[in-house]
């Protein structure tokens, strides 16, 4: 999944000479919290609603006047993402720098923006949580070919796998969590158990006693 797949585009932006008051009004109107700042065609900075509120707060020793230009308080130079970057790269940058957005550029041109919310949407898409699906969890021996054996069984049944997450569980096994586009996961689990897969979810149902 690439940055271009999850970004909001086109990005809204404001000229560097815009006043803090106008920038704040613009964000309120559009319901956004992050704005790229441009000078002519060039991206020169980023300003957030938090920057504006801190800069003008009466709690700071010498607050900026509402009429000051955004160029006085914006972050610069702006950190950016390339439209062709994998989303995990963008996520790492935002996490490391503790920032809430990245303007997206392509050939030096501003073409979009991604925010923390876009990354959460991406997480949901990656885990298949945005499509009707059921959960299957299998413990696999940590050998080559085991995951392939599992997915081959699924594709034989014509099942659509929306996502696969695999993580190491112990020295010899990995846990694989799949979201599958089917309501009939229990029947599938039964078949897999007969093929000697260790199915963790769904479990056998308790029996009446």
């Amino acid at each position: 999944m690439l940055v271009r797949d999850i970004m909001s585009s086109p990005a809204m932006a404001i000229p560097a000479a815009t006043t803090l008051a106008d920038a704040y009004r613009f964000m309120r109107e559009k319901g956004i919290r992050h704005l790229p700042v441009i000078e002519g065609p060039d991206l020169v900075g980023v300003i957030t609603d938090r920057d504006l509120r801190l800069a003008t707060s009466s709690l700071v020793p010498s607050p900026f006047a509402p009429g000051s230009p955004v160029s006085t308080v914006m972050s610069r130079p702006p950190l950016t993402a390339d439209a062709a970057d994998p989303v995990e790269d963008a996520a790492r940058t935002m996490r490391e720098k503790k920032i809430g957005c990245l303007p997206v550029v392509e050939d030096g041109r501003l073409i979009g923006i991604i925010t923390g919310l876009d990354l959460l949407d991406a997480l949901m898409r990656m885990t298949g949580a945005d499509k009707p699906s059921g959960r299957l969890e299998v413990r696999l021996p940590d050998h080559p070919g085991e995951l392939a054996r599992l997915t081959a069984t699924l594709s034989e049944r014509g099942l659509n796998v929306h996502s696969i997450l695999t993580y190491p569980e112990g020295p010899d096994s990995v846990r694989t969590v799949l979201r599958i586009g089917s309501i009939e996961i229990r029947a599938l689990a039964g078949d897999l158990r007969r093929q000697r897969f260790e199915v963790v979810w769904p479990p056998e149902k308790p029996c009446p006693r």
Partner: protein
Amino acid sequence: MPSVIYHRAYSRYSFGATHPFNPVRVEMMLDLLDALGHPARTVAPEPATREDLLRVHAEYYVRRVEALGAGEEVPDCGDYGLGTPDTPAFRGMDEATRWLVGGTLHGARLICEEGEKRVLQLGGGLHHARRNYASGFCVYNDLAIAIDYLTRHGLWVAYLDIDVHHGDGVQQILYEDKRVMTISLHESGQFLFPGTGSVHELGAELGRGLKLNLPLEPFTEGESYLEVFDQVVPAALRQFRPGILVVQAGADAHFDDPLADLMLTTHDYEAIFRRILEWADLFTAGRVLFTLGGGYALGAAPRVWTILHLLIHDLPVPGRLPEAWRRKWTATLEGTVPAALHDPTPSRFDIPNRQEIAHRNRQTGERLLEGARPYWF
């Protein structure tokens, strides 16, 4: 006198002999009512028209269902959830589904136009179908289409979904509608299809605070289920003051169901149905429209719905299961023939963390009410 809606054509909504959504379930129920000496007196609906469908569904979607039903190739049908292992294409698919939709619509009309109070539609409940997407055995959303009819005729609707799966299609179609409250109790989407139905899904725009979800822990038993049912549903109905209850009475929360992990017994279902009828009397002048829904244990679902049918008619629920019925359906039931109409009492299960499950469900109920209440006042 309550109305029961049914047509033989309902059995054409069938995805093949080995598919769980099997019309034999209703056949077994009707046969059981006969054997008990309370044969269902049914009224026949008309199939829904194309225009009825287009109130809710996209034309390009309906067109694809029609083409598949006519045996044509639709190369992109998978993009619309059609022709999948869950919802395979079959001959006459469009018409067969329109019969079920027509039945639910007919129920809505009986209540709106003829002052009927209690209606049981012996089919439908296709709550997963979306505007342009088939899912979980559901092609057209009969519930949303009937609810649309009811609201256009001035009745505000409380939709109650007790199927074990989240009523995602109905919720999604009506997400912004202020005239419809939806309440779905289901096994948590963290574990069960379709994955949605968290307490945070509360509706949007004018419908905010009116879409309620109670995701329950796997292996939830009747006692805990009824506790949160009582905690949430009457409070929501009292607040919303609907003109009618529309109930998707899926039977797949039964402990014997092969698709899911809740542990309700027929006794629990009886308690649930009695409460719903009582709340209809209390909040909607008795107006309630039931559809069937999921329920894939052939030994359980027909008994659950038979109990529903008896209760709707204020008939006593007998203990016995007629021998003739048991004999007739032994082969179909593959050896797991129940001994009585009700499950044996007390049904107890080996569930080690019973207390924790009940505790978590209680907290879910509280979180739901905390989240929704701010929008109610």
